[in-house]
Amino acid sequence: MTLTTVRPRLSPKVRLRFDRRTGRHLLLYPERGLELNNTATAIARLCTGEWTIDEMLNHLARAYDDVSPNEIRREVCEFLDVLADRGLLQAMS
């Protein structure tokens, strides 16, 4: 996935749901689910098809100013790979 022009969007089959048992978010899809940490939730929320990955990184860098940009970049790329592998992302260019 190139970082400049692609605008990731969650597949319509995905549902982000707050889990009041754990205080975290779950990403639900057919017969499966992922439990997300706070960063992953923030990333998932930005996968609307409006943001390029670069814009997502900038936004997250402002929101999490205690985390280094490299660390944010690593987490975003890893999480987007997890989603793409499972067919949970559509890339809008």
């Binding site: 089959k13 549902r15 749901r17 048992r21 057919p30 793409a84 592998d85 499972r86």
Partner: protein, 367 residues
Amino acid sequence: MNNEHRPYTLIAELTYRCPLRCPYCSNPWDLAEHGNEIDTDTWLRVFHEAEELGVVQLNLTGGEPLLRDDLELLIEGAGKLDLYTNLITSGIPLTFERLSRLHTLGLDSVQVSIQSTRSSVSDRIAGAPSFNRKLDAMQWVTALGIPLTMNVVLHRENISEIEEIIALAERVSADRLELANTQYLGWALKNRAALLPTREQIERARTVAAEAKMRLRGKMEVLFITPDYYSEYPKSCMEGWGRRFIVVNPEGLALPCHLAHTISGLRFEHVTQRRLADIWHHSAGFNRFRGDDWLPDPCRTCERRAIDFGGCRCQTFHVMGDADMTDPACSLAPGHHHIESARTQAGRTTGIPVLFEYRTGRGCSSR
């Protein structure tokens, strides 16, 4: 609240009625002896209680859930609880209009099973003309933009079609393909001699499925559910007894799996008589095989006990006559020779057609 015993999925078996008669059906043998189906209000209350207990996924299954004429109300109710609702169906009887209505009411995904890619074989295994209607149903699902899982229960007679099965799943734009080797319980255990593939058949299918999984990565999820008869270790049945799943059967019995009530000596309770949370946390049946204390040798000291929890309790009971033993599918189990002899028999009878004994559900209750 700890998450060790937290149900994420409610499997709602809405009815045992079904237009098909597959010889590996997981419904009980004694369908005629079962009582009345629970009503709409009871199901809606069960969904609510399940959601409070932590459930986020709802599988509507059966029998054939489309035979419930209150399916619309149930899906609408599940939608209000924000449950991710999966309909697990044969695709019969269905119309495009009804599917569209169910989708509008909150249906999130659909799983359609086929018996073979060849219509004559599929119809014969299903015991009813059904293949072409299943194709229609799958096309309606994807036309409406609903994620589709295509499920095929694999056995000796259809496992050599693996390439055609994958091609069909691609053709109907399935989102997931479940290549589910038969689990030898219920009707499948009765029909094991006719169903169990040879090791060569399994290995070939596994290789083809692995190749498809790589090729289709990110496009279609390909799941090859390994048959425990040909594994070294048992499956992690239901991800552990009373850990992640609750099954409620058509009569309202709450269970850790579809067949738990076929194990003699266990006591399970009805959702009409006790709150689901009480049943989940406190009933004798749900607690019977939780944790490590009940584990037999060699599981007790085995490092895999946290992975497979000693395997499948129902299989152990139905093969060994004692649910407290290690699953005989495990190569370390004292009863493993039962599985080995079934495999040997499968190797010997290659090519000899064996008759299926069909489930007959005609006499079972209807609402």
